[in-house]
Amino acid sequence: MIIDNLKKLQNLFNNGIEHSNSEGSDGIGQVFEKKVDRRSSLKALVGGALATTALTGTSCSDNKWQEYFKGNYKLMTDDERLATIERLTKMYSQRTGNKINLSDKKAIPGTLFGYAFNVSKCQGYGDCISACVEENNQDRDTQMQYIRIHEMDKKNGINFEMADDTFSHEVPAEGHFYIGTQCFHCENPPCVKVCPVEATWQEEDGIVVIDYDWCVGCRYCLAACPYDGRRFNWKQPNVPEEEVNKEQHYLGNRLRKKGVMEKCTFCVQRSRNGKNPACVEACPTGARTFGNILDPNSEIRYILENKKVFRLKEDLGTEPKFWYYMD
């Protein structure tokens, strides 16, 4: 009964993982025989207080405690990162019986990712939106989407206030044009500045990422972002098992839980493996370009050097890495 209550307590505080049926017996050993660092000490303190239940706890609940007490991903050693990847992979297969490919691939040196959007080419199809959702495992119930496509009237020009981003008619509509927005992965990101626990930061390749397990859900970053880039899990996200994209990255499209923030990650699970983000691949008109700004031979560099590019809300000083142009 104590174990049941303990599990209920865990669920209430939402370690984000459902019950498991597997048995194990090495709870106390794993808790007390580790070398003592700050996380182990904290865990041991609680483990000591709950010694009786830990003794009879399952290895799955032990994984949950270790997941709860792990530190900020930014500060983890390579071993700690591997350990959390192992635990998450194990817990997923215990829960669903399926395997995920969870990567912790770091930024490739000499890379700074940038994005270009050709306003003339976009026809408002929205293939980018659906490809993104398929790739990144967002909640289906609330239809969470990282990308917004704003339909604008040519008479008004680029005017977001008068634009409509919830249209559902045949596109392209007569006399209208389309502009897409998402997280712009700013070089001077206000979201990173305001996060009280450093759960969001900019990686070396320019991608602004979130450690979903570190986020406390205060939504300060949501308030700070001028571009409507961030999304919050107001409920436990639901992705049908058969639709889950099993090729995942710890900082990217791995499954999130309720009460944490998420956003576009320039498909870190793809871009660090030399592939384009799902939105770029999916766009039938070729309006979207992605690449390494530091590579002088890249298409994105060509666009930045030869097209008349502009960024949105330039005066705010955020230095977004998302440029618009018209061809």
């Binding site: 505080f13 900020n72 977001f160 406390v216 308030a223 961030r230 107001w234």
Partner: protein
């Protein structure tokens, strides 16, 4: 050891004192407890299903909880308006009121922390903010500053009265050398907590409604109006129900503080309205939504004008000396309510409307949110009642150490 024995005795005697009282007291405490229990159930629902049970959304990310938090930090900071004259200006008229003021500060701070905690998506992860075991983003994140200053202010407002009461409990005089430095610190700290809280919003260039130089000073003005107004009401109740001596002179002096602060608050409101509406720009659009509605969306318009009306009428009453004498309590209640609207959801919600791309999504609090909010106010009232009864009990000699 001596300290532990006396403290244990103090707690025991206080516990006995607060668990006895007249019928009205028991009814009051029972009602508060009932409200808190309902709120606890509502919070369980929120923890279980997530914040989707509230009216908040990606468009309006903060609502009733943070609105109340913002307002109550001001009330907590206002205790300094009694501390300053008592200890530093050595105005003996304030001496009896200051204990009550500090009790209000503690109760308000506990409410603030409760509101922040219930607003969190992952409250079990709050240890991530503790330096050493977590990572606190100081000095960049204003939230990190806020956590530090609020905890520090709570510590000051608990330890100083606790020391003074601990001494009085033993029939001794509290040693000034021990508590005066803390008191002087708390005066500056009070201003600090409220400026820092204002800076949370003031620094967000993504939200032009908040991103102006006047927000911090406006917070201070409205805090020094609303906080002491509440204290005046409470002191009136204490005069009625206990033998604790609060003179007319004391209340008169506090009402002067409220008057000036209310007037400054109105001047700042006029300045804000001028800036937004003399030559409206794209940055004025949230103000337009709040005061006049936008494209048929006008949920907040009746609220804000009621709030302003309450403020204006209350300030008028307070300004005219005869009216201030006759209608003080009603003016204080009106002022408290008006500022609660204007600084609570009349400030937080319009900051998010319209959204970053001009989208208008309005906010209505859900039943769960309202239940939890009322429960936290009940918690504050509960805590304050206990602190005030113990404080007054010790001061009047009802609770004293038996030799």
């Amino acid at each position: 050891m001596e300290f532990l024995k006396i403290s244990a005795s103090l707690f025991k005697d206080s516990f006995k004192f607060i668990t006895t009282g007249r019928t009205a007291y028991h009814v009051w405490m029972t009602c508060l407890t009932a409200i808190m229990l309902i709120g606890t159930w509502a919070y369980y629902v929120q923890i279980d299903q997530g914040l989707i049970v509230t009216g908040m959304s990606d468009n309006v990310g903060w609502g009733l909880y943070i609105s109340n938090f913002t307002f109550l930090v001001g009330v907590a900071a206002a205790a300094v308006m009694l501390v300053l004259p008592t200890y530093i200006l050595k105005d003996v008229d304030f001496a009896n009121a200051v204990l009550i003021g500090e009790g209000v500060a503690v109760a308000a701070l506990i409410m603030c922390m409760a509101f922040v905690t219930v607003d969190m998506g992952g409250p079990a992860n709050l240890w991530h903010m503790v330096p050493g075991i977590g990572t606190l983003n100081w000095p960049n994140s204003m939230l990190s500053w806020d956590v530090i200053v609020l905890l520090g202010y709570l510590a000051l407002n608990i330890t100083i009265p606790a020391y003074i009461l601990y001494s009085r409990y033993q029939g001794k005089k509290a040693n000034k050398a021990v508590y005066i430095p803390g008191v002087i610190l708390s005066v500056f700290w009070a201003v600090g907590i409220h400026m820092v809280t204002a800076f949370l919003y003031q620094g967000l260039m993504a939200r032009p409604f908040w991103n102006n130089a006047l927000l911090g000073p406006r917070f201070l003005a409205s805090a020094f109006a609303a906080g002491p107004a509440l204290i005046i009401i409470i002191l009136g109740l204490i005069r009625r129900w206990t033998k604790y001596d609060i003179t007319e002179k004391t209340i008169g002096k506090i009402s002067l503080v409220v008057t000036v602060a209310a007037q400054v608050n109105l001047i700042m409101l006029i300045s804000e309205l001028f800036k937004e509406f003399y030559f409206p720009t794209h940055h004025s659009i949230s103000a337009q939504y709040l005061f006049f509605g936008l494209e048929g969306h006008n949920a907040l318009v009746p609220w804000i004008w009621t709030g302003i009306l309450l403020n204006v009428v209350a300030t008028l009453i307070l300004t005219v000396k005869q009216w201030r004498g006759r209608f003080l309590n009603i003016a204080c209640i009106m002022l408290f309510a008006g500022i609660w609207v204007e600084k609570g959801f009349g400030l937080i919600v319009p900051g998010f409307i319209p959204g970053q791309w001009g989208k208008i999504v309005e906010y209505t609090p859900s039943i769960i949110e309202i239940a939890i909010t009322i429960a936290i106010w009940a918690l504050g009232a509960f805590v304050f009642t206990i602190l005030a009864r113990v404080g007054i009990g010790i001061e009047l000699g009802h609770i004293k150490l038996k030799k």
